[in-house]
Amino acid sequence: MGKIIEINGPIVRLELPETVIGEQVRVGELNLVGEVIGREGDTALAQLYENTEGLRPGERAEGLGYPLSVELGPGLLNSIFDGVQRPLNAVWKKSGDRIARGVQVHSLPRDTAWHFVPDPGIRAGMTVSGGLVLGSVQETASIVHRILVPPTLAGELTELAGEGDYTLDEVIGHIKGRDGAVHKLNLFHRWPVRVPRPYARRDHAVAPLLTGQRILDTFYPLLKGGKGAIPGPFGAGKTMLQQQIARWCNAEIVIYVGCGERGNELTDVLEFMPELIDPHTGRPLMERTLLVANTSNMPVVAREASVYVGITLAEYFRDQGYDVVMVADSTSRWAEALREVAGRLGQMPVEEGYPAYLGSRLAAFYERAGRVETLGGLHGSVSLIGAVSPPGGDFSEPVTSHTKEIIQTFWALSKELADARHYPAIDWLESFSGYVPAAAKWWAQHVDPRWEEYRARALELLAESEELQRIVNLVGVEALSSEQRWTLEAAGLIKEGLLQQAATDETDSYASPEKQFALLAAMLRIHDEGMKLVKMGASARVLIQLPIMGQARRWKSQFTSEQLEEMKARIAEIPGVFERVAQEYEHAAPQT
C-alpha cells in the first residue's frame, strides 16, 4: 500500500514502489482509478480517469497488478460504456443522473445467463490454441456471439461445458497449458486495451464498405478493413456522416465512439438506433451497435483511453469473424487529451503544444484497422473511420496532417458547402480514396462494369466546371461557349441530383448501389445527350430550361432504393426528351 504525494489536475504522484508503467492504480478515499504513466525511483506518476478534486496528499494508493483492460463476452452489444468501459446504464442506476466518482460496476452483467452452444467440432481432450471458437451464444436476434479461447492461451482442452445457460462467472471449461498450469474458461475474457489483439495474418481488403451515401460509395469508397478520416470545421457534418455510416453501412457490428463530443449526440444515437431497421438483416440497428461515450464534459484522461477501449472491442468482434466498423468522433479530442497529459508531465511540445509522439500514436492507432485471418481461421475486418476537428478548419494543423498521411480515404468536409447546406458537405476535389481500383472490381462484378469509367467522367466534369466557374466569377456566364455552359449545367446537375443527399430525407437517406449507379448513369446521359445537341448548334440556354433538368434533380428523393424500376422508367425517357428537342431544332434550323 502506498500513498499520494502530489496532486496536479488529473496527474498524481504516488509513493508506490512496485508498480509498472501501464498498471492500474486505485487512489484515495474515493477509490479513484487511473494508470501509471511514469516512474521515478520509488514514486509513480499516474493519470486518473476521474476528477481529483478533494484528494489529499497522504491518502492511500495501491497498484492493482493489471493494465487497463476490457471485458470481452456476451452483453456487449446494445450497450453504452464510458471511456473505461463502465456501463453507463448501470452507473446511472447506481449513482443517478450525474456520474459520481469512484463508482465500481462490472463492465458486463454478471446476473444474466447466456445460452451457450458448444461448437460441434470441439470436444474435450483436443489441443486448442488462442482465438479458436469454442461455441456460441445468440446474443441478439441478429448477432451470434462466438466464444473464443483467449488469444494468449493454448494447450489441452480438458473440459468443456455442454449446451446450457451460464452466467459470466460460471466456468465453462478448462485448458491445461503447455506448462501444465490449468486455466479456467468463462464466457468472457479480459484484454489490455493498449495491446493490439493478435491475428494469424493480414488479408487483402476486397469488398467496399457500402454506406448508402453516394459521395462515399460511388466517388470515394472505403473498403472493409480500410482506414478513413473525416476532417472538417465545426458544423460541417462529421457527426452526421458518421451516424449515417453507423446506420446504413453493410458491416455486421458497429462501434460508435463519442470521444470528447456532445452528450446529446449519443442520446440521439441511443434513441434512433433501436427504432431503425437494419436494411441488411431486418432487425433493429441497435442490436449490432455498441457505444463508447466519453463526452466533452467527462474527465479528459478517460477520453484518451476511450478510443483504445473502442478499437479493442472492434478487434474482438473481428476475431469472431465479423466485419466491424468503428467510427471515432473525434480523434482530435483524443489527441488533445494526449496533449493535455503531456503538458502536465512537462514534456517538450513540438507543434501547437502537441508532443513529438503524436504522429506515431495516431499511426499505431489506425494500424489496428484491417482485414485479417483470425487465429481461429476466420475472416474478419475492422474498418476505422475517424473524425478530425481541425482548429479553425485549417487542414494543415498537426492532427489533420498526420492523419492524412496514415489513412487511405479522406472525406474532406468544406465550410462553404455546409454553409450553402449542400450535404454531405464533402469537397469533391479535395477528397481522395486509395481504394478505387479494388472497389471497381466489386462494382463491375455486382453492379455495372462501367462504374469506374462513369465515376471518372463525373469527377472530370466536376473538375472542369470548377475551372469554368472561376471564369464566370470573373467575367460572367456570357463569356462561356455554349458547350462550356452545358458542362457547367451538367456539373450542377451532378452536384444537386447525385452528390447532395440529405440524411434527413427519408427516401434518400440510404441509396443502394444500384440506385447510386442508375443516378450516376442518368446524369451522365443527360450531359451526353445535351452535348450532342449543343455540338449540333443548339443553345445551352434553351436546354437548361428543359423541365427534365429540374425533374432529374428530384429523382433521388422521389424513388427509394426499392423503387428502382420506377426510377429507371423515368430515366429511360431521357433520350426521347432530347430527341424531341433535336427534331424541333432540325425543324427550325433551315429557317435560320
Binding site: G58, P233, F234, P391
Partner: protein, 469 residues
C-alpha cells in the same frame, strides 16, 4: 483544518502563493486569505503536494506581505447555497449577494463545478421554442434544452437580440401558456460593462420577468479569476432550478470571450503550455464543462436552455473562442457587420448560422410539415442569390440574365423582409413560414428543388407574382 490560520506562505507572485508545511490539504479546496490590513481575499488550491500547496488568489497577490498574510483552508470546494430565495436576487461571481440583501442561508450547498451528466440519462431536446425572430425560428430554430450561442462582434446588437429572445421565447400551443409560470431566467454577465448589465436588468424589468430572474455579475473591473467561477455559479443555480424545482430555465451568459481571456490569463500565470493564440490546450474541455450543463434529463420535467453570447475578436469566426465554442454547442447564431451596417435588425448572417437540433424539433409534429424543406430551400436559394450578387458586383446588374436578376431581387427582399424585423415584432412561426413562401414565390418553381412538388402546389404562388411583374 477549517479554523486554523497558517502563516507559512513562502512566496507570492503573479496571483499565486505557495504555502509550505501545511499537511493534508485537499485538491481544489477553497481558501481564504487575510492580508496585513485584515482584508479577505479568496483563493483556490490548484496543486498540492506533501511539501507545498499552490494557491491561486482571485483578487491577485499585489501588496501581500508574506509575514503578515494568514491563510485558511476551508477544506471544501467552491459551493453555492441554494434555496427558492435565489429568485429575483443578484450575486457576484462567487455567489455572494451584491444587491445589498442578506445572504442565502441554506443547508443545501452545491459544488459549483457540478458533475458530468451521464449521457445515458439525457433526454434528447425536441420541443420547438418560438423566439418570434424569423431568422431563428425559420432557419435556425431553438429547442428546449439546447445550447445555442450568439456569435457577435464589438458594436453589434447581440444584447438586444438576446433580450428579445428572453422576452419572446415561448412554446407553441396551449400547454405553453399553462407552463409559462414555470419559466425562469438565469443571467450571468462577466467582463461586461455595467451599462450592458444594466441594459439587461432594465429589459427584464420591462418585460415583467425580473422576479423570475437570478443574476450573477462580474463586471469588467472586477477580479478576473472570479470570472472563472461566474458561469459555474450561474449554472449551479440553473441546475437547481431545473432539476430540483422543475423549472424551464433559460440561461443567458455574456461575454464568453471575457471568460476565455480570463482563463488564458490564469493559464499563463500557472505556466501551462499554450496551444493556439496563447490559450491553453484545455480551453475546449473547460468550455465544454460549462456548455454541456445545458440539456434535459429523462423523467425530469425541467430543462436548461442556454444562450451564451460571445464577441468574436476581429469578427473572426476561426478565432479559438468562437471556434471551440462552435465545436461544443449545438449550432450558433452569427451576427454580421455587413447586414448591421445596412440597417438590418437583427443582423443574423444566416449561412454560417446553424441549429443542429432544428431537424428534430420542426416539421409535422412540432411546427408545420413544410418547415424542414422551406428552411433548406431558403438556405439554398439565398446561397445562390449571394453568388449572383457577387457576380453582379463584377459585371454589373444590367448584364445579369433575367433569371439571375430574380435572384438578386430575392436576396434583397429576403434580407429586408425576412431577416429584418422590429425589435418588438414577435412573429409566429406560421407567419415566418408564410413570409418565406412569399419570398420563394419570387423564384420559378423549377428552381426550387428542396421543397416537394406537393408543397409547391400548396404554397407557391409563382404565377401570381409573374403576372404582376
Amino acid at each position: 483544518m477549517k479554523n486554523i490560520e497558517f502563516r507559512t506562505a513562502s512566496s507570492a507572485q503573479g496571483g499565486l502563493i505557495v504555502m509550505s508545511g501545511v499537511p493534508g490539504v485537499a485538491a481544489g479546496s477553497q481558501v481564504q486569505i487575510k492580508d496585513h490590513a485584515g482584508r479577505l481575499r479568496n483563493g483556490l488550491v490548484i496543486k498540492v503536494s506533501d511539501q507545498a500547496v499552490l494557491v491561486e488568489v482571485f483578487e491577485g497577490t499585489d501588496e501581500l506581505d508574506l509575514e503578515r498574510t494568514w491563510v485558511r483552508f476551508l477544506d471544501e470546494p467552491f459551493t453555492l447555497p441554494l434555496s427558492r430565495d435565489i429568485m429575483g436576487r443578484i450575486f457576484n461571481g462567487a455567489g455572494h449577494p451584491r444587491d445589498g440583501r442578506p445572504p442565502i442561508i441554506s443547508a443545501d450547498r452545491r459544488n459549483v463545478n457540478g458533475e458530468p451528466m451521464n449521457p445515458a440519462a439525457r433526454a434528447y431536446p425536441r420541443e420547438f421554442i418560438q423566439t418570434g425572430i424569423s431568422a431563428i425560428d425559420g432557419m435556425n430554430s431553438l429547442t428546449r434544452g439546447q445550447k445555442l450561442p450568439i456569435f457577435s462582434g464589438g458594436g453589434l446588437p447581440h444584447n438586444r437580440v438576446a433580450a428579445q429572445i428572453v422576452r419572446q421565447a415561448k412554446l407553441l400551443g396551449d400547454e405553453a401558456n399553462a407552463e409559462s409560470s414555470s419559466f425562469v431566467v438565469v443571467f450571468a454577465a462577466f467582463g461586461v460593462s455595467s451599462a450592458d448589465a444594466r441594459y439587461f436588468q432594465e429589459s427584464f424589468e420591462e418585460s415583467g420577468v425580473l422576479n423570475r430572474v437570478v443574476m450573477f455579475l462580474n463586471l469588467a473591473d472586477e477580479p478576473v479569476i472570479e470570472r472563472l467561477l461566474t458561469p459555474r455559479a450561474a449554472l449551479t443555480a440553473a441546475e437547481y432550478l431545473a432539476y430540483d424545482l422543475d423549472y424551464h430555465v433559460l440561461v443567458v451568459m455574456t461575454d464568453m470571450t471575457a471568460y476565455a481571456e480570463a482563463l488564458r490569463e490564469v493559464a499563463v500565470l500557472r505556466g501551462d503550455v499554450p496551444a493556439r493564440k496563447g490559450y491553453p490546450g484545455y480551453l475546449y474541455s473547460d468550455l465544454a464543462e460549462i456548455y454541456e450543463r445545458a440539456g434535459r434529463i429523462k423523467k425530469r420535467p425541467g430543462s436548461i436552455t442556454m444562450i451564451p453570447v460571445l464577441s468574436m475578436p476581429s469578427d473572426d469566426i476561426t478565432h479559438p473562442i468562437p471556434d471551440l465554442t462552435g465545436y461544443i454547442t449545438e449550432g450558433q447564431i452569427v451576427l454580421g457587420r455587413e447586414l448591421f451596417n445596412q440597417g438590418v435588425y437583427p443582423p443574423v448572417t444566416v449561412l454560417p448560422s446553424l441549429s443542429r437540433l432544428m431537424k428534430d424539433g420542426i416539421g409535422k409534429h412540432y411546427t408545420r410539415e413544410d418547415h424542414p424543406h422551406v428552411a433548406s430551400q431558403l438556405f439554398a436559394s439565398y446561397a445562390k442569390a449571394l453568388e449572383v450578387r457577387g457576380l453582379a458586383a463584377i459585371i454589373g446588374a444590367e448584364e445579369l440574365s433575367e433569371g439571375d436578376r430574380r435572384y438578386l431581387e430575392f436576396a434583397n427582399a429576403f434580407e429586408r423582409r425576412f431577416i429584418g424585423q422590429g425589435e418588438d415584432e414577435d412573429r409566429s412561426v406560421f407567419e415566418t413560414l408564410n413570409l418565406a413562401w412569399d419570398l420563394l414565390s419570387m423564384l420559378p418553381p423549377d428552381s426550387l428543388i428542396r421543397v416537394s412538388e406537393a408543397e409547391l402546389e400548396k404554397y407557391h404562388r409563382w404565377q401570381a407574382v409573374a403576372e404582376t411583374t
